[in-house]
Symmetry: C2
């Protein structure tokens, strides 16, 4: 099976959670927009494919299936690429953790776009300052403290007690948060030892290490979800 | 199987999407907080149950499984209660539509709480006015136009071409939006004939009609996700 990943070029964004799973499993995949241009993705989004109408990227083509929504893609890939432990309970647990990560990712996006995704950050800076402060003071400790506790209650090293795509997503989440909010994350880090050990372990996995060193890995930037605006971080 | 639904009392919120599925299937369930108080839910959230640590309600207990996240619960119930057509492709399609509904529900919540969920609406009214205007002018037409098109491309009457839990969720979504934004929805309604026909059909399903007429159905109110603040609706 050669998977086709459809996502915006130029930002890691939500597509990166899928990319990490494909890379970690050593799966054969085409990063369609980056390798073949945007037109193929646009055709799906504008409804030219009779049996598939995704609302937004990322989406994945897997044979005759077209799967949209990051968590749904990972639920599928987890089972087909061996990135989730066997059994219904574990699969469901992975999915609900991924959905909770997705909720935080959406909150991070809205910290720089609290009014409207279609407007520039510069047009909502005042609102962003208020929302980002709440994110740093309340939401990040709540979510990250939760994930730390999940690790603690499992084997201390993996979200499900053994490796899964959720670990890859937690790595990406921490990477993005350290990029966007370096001061706030430095403050929170001492309380999150297991999450940070997990992130280091994921980065050292042979296929992930090779991927991170390759040009396939896109850097974070100020067009994506995780943006570094110093005004939105803790005061220096 | 007697299911146990855990959700806040007093608001329909995200729990209502689960309740509609249980009611439509005629499933045996306990609405735990409403029937037995909040302490049992709090015990899960504070981590007193060794094998389950949900981040937030709603969550469902199904035998030995504890499932959090609305879309994950519905994916599970859909298969076990016959609320989704057979086959992997249909199950995945239902899940991704439900996740897209969940994305809109989160945006609706943030239209009255664009800064912080933990603050009162009155503390973020200025920001809410800007965000709600964008929701009414851009996001609702985009999302609802998408769902209308999904219906059009299926059988015109059901999201998946035959009845599923997604239809129930679209009914709830429309009900909430008409409650919260009556003027904006009156403006959008002519462009959404299939969605509105679907909502009427769902409301007339015998078990749903009986449920809606019962005290189990909670009214929308200004503590929930769908809130009616005239200042956030279209101008009169």
């Amino acid at each position: 099976m050669i998977y086709e990943l459809y996502y915006w070029t130029g930002i890691p964004g939500r597509g990166e959670f899928v990319r990490l799973a494909l890379e970690d499993a050593g799966a054969d995949y085409v990063d369609v927009c980056r390798e073949r241009g945007d037109a193929l993705m646009d055709a799906f989004l504008s409804g030219e494919h009779e049996h598939a109408l995704p609302f937004a990227p990322p989406f994945l083509r897997a044979g005759r299936l077209l799967i949209a929504q990051t968590a749904a893609i990972l639920d599928y890939l987890g089972q087909h690429l061996g990135l989730v432990p066997e059994g219904e309970a574990r699969r469901i647990q992975a999915n609900q953790l991924q959905l909770t990560i997705a909720d935080l990712v959406a909150e991070v996006h809205d910290s720089h776009h609290p009014v409207a995704a279609r407007l520039y950050y510069e047009d909502q800076q005042v609102e962003a300052a208020r929302r980002a402060a709440d994110l740093r003071q309340h939401r990040l400790p709540k979510y990250l403290g939760y994930f730390e506790r999940v690790l603690e209650r499992a084997d201390g090293r993996h979200a499900l007690g053994s490796p899964s795509y959720v670990d890859l997503s937690l790595f990406q989440l921490l990477a993005g948060l350290h990029y966007a909010f370096p001061r706030a994350m430095a403050r929170l880090r001492p309380g999150l030892p297991r999450l940070h050990a997990l992130a280091e372990e994921v980065a050292a996995r042979p296929r992930i290490a090779a991927y991170l060193a390759s040009p396939r890995r896109l850097p974070f930037n100020e067009s994506g979800i995780f943006r570094h605006y110093p005004a939105l971080d803790d005061a220096a």
